[in-house]
Symmetry: C2
Subunit: 245 residues, 2 copies
Amino acid sequence: MHFTSEQRLDDGVREREFTLGEIPGVLWTPASASPAEPVPLILLGHPGGLRKMYPRLAGRARHSAADGFAAATIELPGSGERPLWTAVEDARADLRRAIKAGEPVGDEIIDALVLPLVEKAVPEWQAALDALLALPEIGGRVGYSGGVISIGTRLAVVEPRISAAVLFAGSFVPRAMFDEARQVTVPLHVLLQWDDEGNDRQAALDLFDAFGSEEKTLHANLGGHTGVPEYAGEAAARFFTRHLK
Amino acid sequence: MHFTSEQRLDDGVREREFTLGEIPGVLWTPASASPAEPVPLILLGHPGGLRKMYPRLAGRARHSAADGFAAATIELPGSGERPLWTAVEDARADLRRAIKAGEPVGDEIIDALVLPLVEKAVPEWQAALDALLALPEIGGRVGYSGGVISIGTRLAVVEPRISAAVLFAGSFVPRAMFDEARQVTVPLHVLLQWDDEGNDRQAALDLFDAFGSEEKTLHANLGGHTGVPEYAGEAAARFFTRHLK
């Protein structure tokens, strides 16, 4: 992990860009974080494209920092400045074609789009976690927050350092993930935008039903994909404070 | 409205039992409530049987009082110490029979059970509201919190003094109520216990979908009918603080 830039935001949050091998990422730590007072960490998931997603990610990170958490994200394989991934690009093109034609999005498109992403991204998130937890100012529990919901689900299954997860329903879910969902046992807080255009509400409800966790909560709010109301973000923050501190 | 008893609870909350005509009820006001500082009111809905429900209702009322709200409830028609209502008793017996036999609960049973209750209970809640708002220590906005969800829905449609509602999914919903739900416009916070035995989860989701409110939130939590987790109660309390203060 190499830090490539550093700045202080106006609220005192320390923002550092880094690369992990060829993967770019960003780490935000609250002003208070130090080797003497390490802070727990939230991994910020997203649908890919760090530059485009930066304003929303930084906003979530600054809220997390205000609650006493470090937050970090990495670029997804095939997105942003990372090398184009032809197989996933082809699946994306198939998806757009199906949606434009008003056709149902078939399982084979969803599988081709999401499963390779999960396979490749999850070990990258784990490598990032290794590097982040080696920093002296970060310590304690780890949460995952965001989409892609299949990445968050797999990570919650295979990575014992994840103690709790806030998952954003809003991406297509391969059938295979429903079985994986049953193996999730950490506390879950699932956000569902009720009118998310291009998202399958029933699949999100079915996935919520499938999760094996003893504590799981679904917060559904009116509005589209990016319209998560402020109070829903605050509820998710309280969930992390309950489980990571 | 005649007060029939009064006591101070250990947290300073003033608890008064009253009768409104032949309807028994209970009013809880925070220690701070006075004609100089009137407090907003939350009507506490329940499935009937004030004595049996008292511990849970008083618990909810004391939480509301701690947040600066008065809370009040009245007995439902045909429940508790009120005269037996043969028609509704017959429908309840039919319902129990159907459930015991493992049969689907037909629309005619649900209609016979719930619609007369809504017809009779809603004007009683409105009369109680008249009397409660005439008290000098109560003033400001009014919320409705609880079940029966069809009563809360009708009240939200016909009673303009209701500014926001927390509705507990967990009772059978007549088909006619889905049309009424579309007429609801106040902010809604719907609580759904995901594994509520004897409750139709899909009907609850359909009703949530039908509500016409621009702000509506569904909080689904794991567990049965009476297993609403403490953090879900706190989230509902924050909803009222946002909308009634």
